[in-house]
């Protein structure tokens, strides 16, 4: 039995927990959070920041889909129709002197606002939301607790990483207020060198991404050292929950890959500001070099996004299925394997820009990463066999992940295949594929993790029925939005188009309606969570019956996570033989022993 003092009950709600701010007053509380080195508070601050970024990026995404409801048309006399987003600069008409919108002078401008909007959507979602989300919010909160530690290895560095994130985001927000960039989140050269030549906007956005990278690197470093050094006595590597393995693999990629994008973005800034010529063909530089540098990071980073989500899924299916994971070591090692192979396959983002030999090599390597990923899915499904499945929101998200991530992964196959990729590259098929893996994978896992750990983090339970309704709308809305886009892609719809030929309108409209359903589902979750913070019932310490160490701590945990250093007497998935902490055998019966 673990040596947790069970006499600490939840008599006063936040009393004694990390959220307890009695006696501090308003400014005292602000200072307490601003200067905290407590990984839990830092994780919560990251959580609210990334959710805010998700909201901003999401609004931009809704705007993008709304623009695509109707194609833009320009009549011979210059009048344009079908333009929804136009925040073009007001200019004076040279002939009449009256103030009009810039796109009324030059219809080409009509696409410009759209281009800035999809750039905003991509840049905010990638750099400010999805890369930090699971690691910095949930990873920060739960990694130390799951290994029985008081905090991460370098708590002050953790706080510093948070401020680097804030600082970098500030640059991004300033750039956006000044009008943002119209380069796409990938900043491909030569366009990103030439556009907005007399403004600083592109440089500010690139600088923001550069600064944010340091937050990732330092957080990753912190997590690696924490995992190596701060495990409680008795917890070997193979006694760790799979979420910890996932955090570890994610952190390795973050530390190794992020410096490459940092240097690349710095070179891009120097190119714009000092005209060094490295990516500029007219000065002897090479635009394709930029793409190789960029994707050398940006491919591994998608595994940062998904590996951590995968760690959450392993927790959801085991806790809510009350069963051990099938193939623990397979999942642990395949995470590391995927992390390693992810560095070899970046070229599949630019098959249309390379020689046949390079294309052949990258295609072959890309197929390698599909195998461990598929194996994980098989392991999870096998985990469901002879389990005891509670149908609640976290489990629904876990099952939803299996559905959506499978589609995402399978649709990667025609993209890894060279001859089909030459058709599908830069089409809506790719847009659908990456939304299925990034949103249908990572975001679904993130939402599942939030619903799973919210009661632990805040000591409050949310309204389960509302949450399930939110899940239903998110799941349905997501599929309506993005499944149609596979067909748009195969039929010939290119990406980053503000307008299109008439043939595509029906599918675009269906996709846009889906985005509204998805948005409603997400808003339901937002309101459900907020409501729980103010008026939700208190959550018991282990309402799901989980076995990993966070379920031994209180809800919310006390300042140092545990009152006594935990003794590790069982594995994180020993559901067949251990009654969960704070729970009774009546509620969580054990199977009869096999003779």
């Amino acid at each position: 039995m673990t040596a947790i003092d069970t006499t600490h009950t939840q008599k006063h709600h936040d009393e004694g927990s990390y959220l307890d701010h009695r006696g501090l007053g308003f400014w005292g509380t602000i200072w307490d959070w601003a200067s905290t080195v407590d990984h839990k508070k830092i994780g919560v601050m990251y959580l609210f920041a990334v959710l805010t970024m998700f909201f901003i990026g999401g609004v931009a995404g809704l705007a993008v889909r709304a623009e695509l409801w109707e194609p833009m048309r320009t009549a011979e006399d210059g009048t344009t129709t079908g333009v929804l987003l136009n925040f073009g600069t007001p200019v004076q008409d040279p002939d009449t002197g009256e103030w009009i919108r810039s796109y009324d002078i030059s219809p080409g401008q009509a696409g410009n606002t759209y281009n800035r909007t999809f750039t905003l959507h991509g840049a905010v979602m990638i750099f400010m939301f999805i890369v930090p989300a699971i690691p910095a919010a949930l990873g920060n909160f739960f990694l130390p607790i799951m290994i029985g530690a008081k905090d991460v290895a370098f708590p002050k560095l953790n706080l510093f990483s948070w401020y680097v994130y804030v600082f970098g985001s500030l640059f991004g927000v300033i750039g956006l207020i000044l009008g943002g960039a119209d380069t796409g989140w990938t900043f491909y050269t030569p366009y990103s060198i030439q556009t907005d030549a007399d403004y600083w906007r592109v440089t500010l956005m690139v600088l923001a991404a550069f600064i944010l990278g340091f937050s990732s690197i330092l957080t990753g470093l912190n997590f690696i050292v924490t995992t190596h050094k701060l495990r409680a006595p008795g917890m070997g590597w193979f006694d760790m929950p799979l979420f910890v393995w996932a955090t570890y693999a994610t952190s390795i990629i973050q530390v190794l890959a992020t410096p490459v994008i940092g240097i690349t973005l710095l070179l891009l800034i120097f190119e714009r500001v000092f005209r060094i010529g490295i990516f500029d063909a007219s000065m002897g530089g090479d635009p394709v070099l930029y793409q190789h540098f960029f994707w050398f990071y940006s491919h591994p980073v998608v595994y940062v996004m998904i590996l951590h989500g995968i760690g959450i899924i392993s927790e959801l299916l085991t806790v809510h299925g009350r069963k051990h994971i099938f193939g623990y070591r397979a999942i642990a090692f395949s995470s590391l394997g995927i992390a390693g192979v992810s560095f070899l396959i970046w070229g599949h983002h630019l098959f249309a820009a390379m020689s046949p030999i390079a294309a052949m090599v990258f295609s072959a390597l890309t197929f390698i990463v599909a195998v461990p990923t598929a194996i994980k899915v098989f392991n999870w499904i096998a985990t469901l066999y002879k389990s005891s499945i509670a149908i609640n929101t976290p489990m629904l998200y876990g099952l939803g992940f299996l559905f959506l991530f499978s589609i995402g992964g399978l649709t990667g196959l025609p993209l890894a295949t060279l001859s089909t990729d030459l058709h599908l590259h830069d089409s809506y098929f790719v847009v659908a594929h990456f939304h299925y893996v990034m949103m249908g994978g990572t975001v679904i896992a993130f939402l599942g993790g939030l619903h799973h750990w919210w009661p632990k983090m805040f000591g409050r339970m949310y309204n389960e029925k509302a949450a399930m309704l939110g899940f239903a709308l998110v799941f349905i809305g997501f599929n309506v939005t993005f499944f149609t886009q596979f067909f748009l892609g195969t039929q010939g719809m290119p990406r980053r188009y503000a307008s299109y030929v008439d043939d595509f309108q029906t599918l675009h409209q269906i996709s846009t309606v889906g985005s509204w359903i998805l948005a409603i589902g997400l808003f339901i979750h937002l309101f459900t969570f907020l409501h729980s913070l103010f008026a939700g019932p208190k959550a018991p310490p282990n309402l799901w019956g989980g076995l990993s160490l966070e379920w031994e701590a209180e809800s919310p945990p006390c300042a140092h996570n545990f009152h006594h250093e935990p003794l590790i007497k069982h594995g994180p998935y020993d559901y067949e033989s251990v009654v969960p902490p704070h729970c009774s055998e009546e509620d969580f019966p054990l199977p009869k022993q096999r003779s």
Partner: protein, 392 residues
């Protein structure tokens, strides 16, 4: 003065020049192309060998995916229902490993991956290696239009209006049942030349040539022509989504007639200038004063024009040459934030002079119009001799 040539007989190419699009999915030819699933994915089945091969491989991967997806999801749903939690009932013990199963589910996907890779590589090589008898088309992409030079130096003069941008969309005529090789480059940023019906694209870069090849389809006996969309598939700025083109596949005999129709022959500077305008400038500049991405050429030449920074400049030959070769040196007032493509190295002085001759016909201050049949740069009597102010 340009004299009208009275048409004695109907134009034999009138049908080919027809601006109405004939997209195969709207025609009877589409009916026997491909099955239901192909139609759902691609609108019609593949029309040429490369498309058929690509579709076949795509569908192979699709059915493979469908099979395993349904299998996995069926198991998932079945087990969620069968093993749903019942109060007081524990989960039964179950193994955490199964060697034979795990080996099976490693070997089967791996084998499938190897097959997909091999077929994909093979199909890809057929797309990038052209047969020696292929007709080579030199493609140039620039913001925001395409230019294709045919083997004899011809360029299309056919356009269709799609209501997508000023100046319409170019129609590039190609012969049926013929291998075609595209050799492509960009004048400015990265573009990508995608023909969805041919299931292939390649990126265009300013510092290299890229290539791919396809074999055009055989038309049905009663088909006059068949059209295929060309889309730019690499984000390139404001009018990325207006950068359309049309490949029009025509019978072999008509193809040669079309090339003759396009052939420059002997042209006056004004005619040459108008042709160059339509190939290079029309996507951004109008000639009638109506607004577009760049300033209209109506009443441009010979006038003082306002440039950003508050000063004015006389729009003479050197202004035009400087604007064409070094567009960022002076930006017209009201057009700040637009970046004109740099044409130095693409249009030489002779060609710019022809453009100037054409511009003069569009301006009240253009002076006496150029002579009809005298070649050369016969400047009007009230113009100053052109000075080279651009100096290297």
């Amino acid at each position: 003065m340009m004299q009208e040539v009275a048409a004695a007989a109907p134009d034999p190419l009138a049908a080919i020049k027809n601006p109405d699009l004939s997209l195969v999915q709207d025609s009877s030819a589409a009916q026997h192309l491909g099955g239901l699933v192909e139609k759902i994915f691609f609108r019609t089945g593949g029309q040429n060998p490369v498309a058929v091969n690509t579709d076949g491989l795509f569908l192979m991967i699709f059915w493979f995916s469908v099979f395993f997806f349904i299998l996995l999801m069926a198991l998932m749903v079945y087990w969620v229902i069968k093993y749903r939690r019942r109060p007081g009932v524990p989960a039964e013990p179950s193994p955490s490993h199964n060697g034979p199963l795990e080996i099976l589910w490693t070997v089967v996907p791996s084998s499938a991956m190897i097959l997909m890779f091999i077929f994909g590589f093979d199909g890809y090589m057929h797309k990038v290696v052209a047969p020696t008898n292929a007709i080579q088309l030199n493609v140039t992409g620039f913001k925001w239009d395409w230019k294709i030079k045919y083997p004899g130096g011809e360029q299309t003069t056919y356009r269709t209006s799609l209501g997508t941008k000023k100046g319409g969309v170019k129609i590039f005529v190609i012969p049926e049942d013929t291998p075609i090789k595209l050799v492509m480059t960009s004048n400015d940023v990265v573009h990508s030349f995608w023909v969805p019906d041919f299931r292939t694209k390649m990126d265009l870069y300013p510092n290299r040539f890229s290539t791919y090849t396809f074999h055009t389809e055989k038309l049905e006996p009663d088909e006059l022509y068949r059209d295929h969309w060309i889309f730019c598939a690499e984000y390139c700025g404001n009018s990325h989504s207006e950068m359309y083109g049309i490949f029009r596949v025509v019978p072999r005999s008509d193809y040669n007639d079309v090339l003759n129709d396009w052939n420059a022959g002997s042209m006056t500077p004004v005619q040459m200038g108008e042709m160059l305008y339509k190939s290079n400038c029309i996507s951004c500049h109008t000639t009638d004063g109506s607004p577009n991405i760049g300033p209209s050429w109506k009443n441009l030449f010979g006038y003082e024009r306002a440039i950003s920074g508050g000063t004015t400049v006389l729009a003479d030959e050197n202004y035009v040459l400087e604007s064409v070769w070094y567009p960022t040196k002076k930006i017209a007032a009201g057009y700040e934030g637009q970046t004109m493509t740099n044409f130095s190295g693409i249009l030489d002085q002779d060609q710019v002079a022809a453009i100037v001759a054409y511009m003069k016909t569009l301006s009240d201050k253009g002076g006496a119009p150029e002579g009809e049949s005298t070649g050369g740069e016969d400047a009007g009597t009230n113009e100053e001799p052109m000075q080279d102010s651009t100096g290297g």
